[in-house]
C-alpha cells in the first residue's frame, strides 16, 4: 500500500502468484531438455541457456518493479532515446526469439527526439512484454509467420513504443479482462497466452510505477502492447 492507501500492482500477491506459475514453464523446459540429453545424448544447449536467461530476466524485472515502487527516488525520470532502448531490448530478446523460431525485427525509422522515462524501467518493461509474446506466438491459431516487431511511432499523445505481432487477439478488451482475472485465473490472457502471462503484468506494474500505462496498440497492420512516452521538449529546444 502507498501512503495514500492505494495498492501498488507490483506488490500484489496476484502478480507474485503469476510470476511463480510462469516460472514453472522454463524450469520444466530445462529439466526435460536436460533429461533428453542424459537419455539420448542430444541437447540444444543454446535453447537451454536462452530459456534460463529469460526466466532470470523475468525475476530481475519483477524485482526491479518492486524496487521502483518502494524506492522511486532511486529511479529518476531521465531524458532517453527511445530508439536506443528498443535496440537494447531487441538485443536482449534475440536469442530467446530464435529458440522459439520467432523472427525479431526492430522498426525505429524516423526521428523521435528524447523522451522522458527511467531507462532501466522502460527496457525491463519492453523485454518483459516481448518475452511473453514470443513464448505465446507459436501456440496461436493463425500465426503463420512467427515474427515480432519492436517498434515506435509518433501519435498525438506522444511517442509510442512497444512490441507488435500479427495476433489480432491483442486488444484493449483482452488486456482489461486479463487485469481483472490476474491471480484468479490460470490463463488471464486466454486468447493470447497459454501461461499466466506474468511478463505482461510485470511490465504493466513497472510502467505503472513510472506513471506510464501499458495499452493495446496498432502499428501498421500489426497488433501489440505499448506505452506512450512524453517527448522532452526542453532538450529539443536546446
Amino acid at each position: 500500500m502507498t501512503d495514500d492507501g492505494q495498492s501498488v500492482p507490483i506488490l500484489s500477491q496476484e502478480l507474485l502468484l503469476g510470476v511463480a506459475e510462469e516460472l514453472k514453464l522454463p524450469l520444466l523446459q530445462i529439466a526435460r531438455q536436460s533429461e533428453l540429453a542424459l537419455l539420448h545424448g542430444t541437447a540444444d544447449i543454446n535453447t537451454i541457456r536462452a530459456t534460463a536467461r529469460t526466466a532470470l530476466q523475468l525475476l530481475d524485472n519483477y524485482v526491479l518493479g518492486v524496487r521502483l515502487a518502494l524506492e522511486p527516488q532511486q529511479f529518476p525520470l531521465e531524458s532517453i532515446s527511445v530508439s536506443s532502448v528498443l535496440y537494447d531490448s531487441a538485443q536482449q530478446l534475440d536469442v530467446f526469439a530464435k529458440s522459439y523460431g520467432v523472427h525479431l525485427e526492430l522498426n525505429v525509422a524516423g526521428r523521435y527526439g528524447p523522451v522522458i522515462a527511467n531507462r532501466r524501467g522502460l527496457q525491463a518493461a519492453l523485454v518483459s512484454i516481448g518475452a511473453a509474446l514470443i513464448e505465446a506466438l507459436p501456440a496461436q491459431e493463425g500465426s503463420r509467420q512467427l515474427s515480432m516487431q519492436l517498434a515506435t511511432h509518433r501519435s498525438r499523445y506522444g511517442v509510442i513504443a512497444g512490441a507488435y505481432t500479427e495476433t489480432k487477439a491483442l486488444t484493449k478488451e483482452t488486456l482489461q479482462r486479463g487485469r481483472r482475472l490476474q491471480g484468479t485465473s490460470r490463463q488471464p490472457l486466454l486468447n493470447v497466452s497459454q501461461t499466466s502471462g506474468a511478463g505482461i503484468f510485470v511490465a504493466d506494474a513497472i510502467l505503472h510505477a513510472m506513471d506510464l500505462k501499458l495499452m493495446a496498440s496498432r502499428h501498421h497492420r500489426l497488433h501489440g502492447l505499448a506505452t506512450v512516452l512524453q517527448p522532452n521538449h526542453q532538450l529539443q529546444i536546446v
Binding site: 526435460r32 533429461e35 497459454q194
Partner: protein, 130 residues
C-alpha cells in the same frame, strides 16, 4: 509403427517431448499446438493415442475433448492428459473426464519424467492394441 498426436502449446516442450517419444519407441509423433489444429491433425493422421495439455490458447483441452469424442471413429482412441495443471484443480471434474470424455490417465507435467512419459505411452499403446 504407432501414431501419437501430441497437443502441446509450448514449442520448446513440444519439440523435446516429440524427440524423446520417437527415440523411446516405435512411434511417429504429430504435433498440434491448438485444439483446432489438433482436430485437423487427428483427421489427417488417425492417431492411435492422444497426449493432451489442458491449458491451451483460445479453446481449452476440455473443449478439444468434447469435439474429439463427438466423432464416432475417435471415441475409442485413448487420451492421456499430460498437463501443468495440478490434479486438485481437476478433482471435481475427473469423473467427467474419465467416464464421459474417455481420459485414461492423468500425468502432472512437473512430476512426470520423460522416461515415465515414454513408459506410460508404451503401456497405453499396448492396451489400445488389445
Amino acid at each position: 509403427m504407432k501414431r501419437i498426436l501430441l497437443i502441446e502449446p509450448d514449442w520448446i516442450l513440444a519439440k523435446t517431448y516429440k524427440q524423446a517419444l520417437e527415440l523411446g519407441g516405435d512411434v511417429a509423433v504429430t504435433l498440434a499446438n491448438t485444439a483446432q489444429a489438433a482436430i485437423g491433425s487427428a483427421d489427417n493422421d488417425k492417431p492411435d493415442l492422444v497426449i493432451l495439455e489442458i491449458q491451451l490458447i483460445e479453446h481449452s483441452g476440455i473443449e478439444f475433448l468434447y469435439e474429439f469424442r463427438s466423432y464416432p471413429e475417435w471415441q475409442s482412441i485413448p487420451v492421456i492428459v499430460h498437463t501443468i495443471v495440478p490434479f486438485n484443480e481437476f478433482q471435481d471434474n475427473w469423473h467427467l473426464l474419465r467416464d464421459e470424455l474417455g481420459v485414461c490417465n492423468y500425468l502432472y507435467k512437473p512430476h512426470t519424467s520423460l522416461r515415465e512419459l515414454i513408459s506410460f505411452t508404451n503401456t497405453q499403446k499396448s492396451l489400445s492394441r488389445a
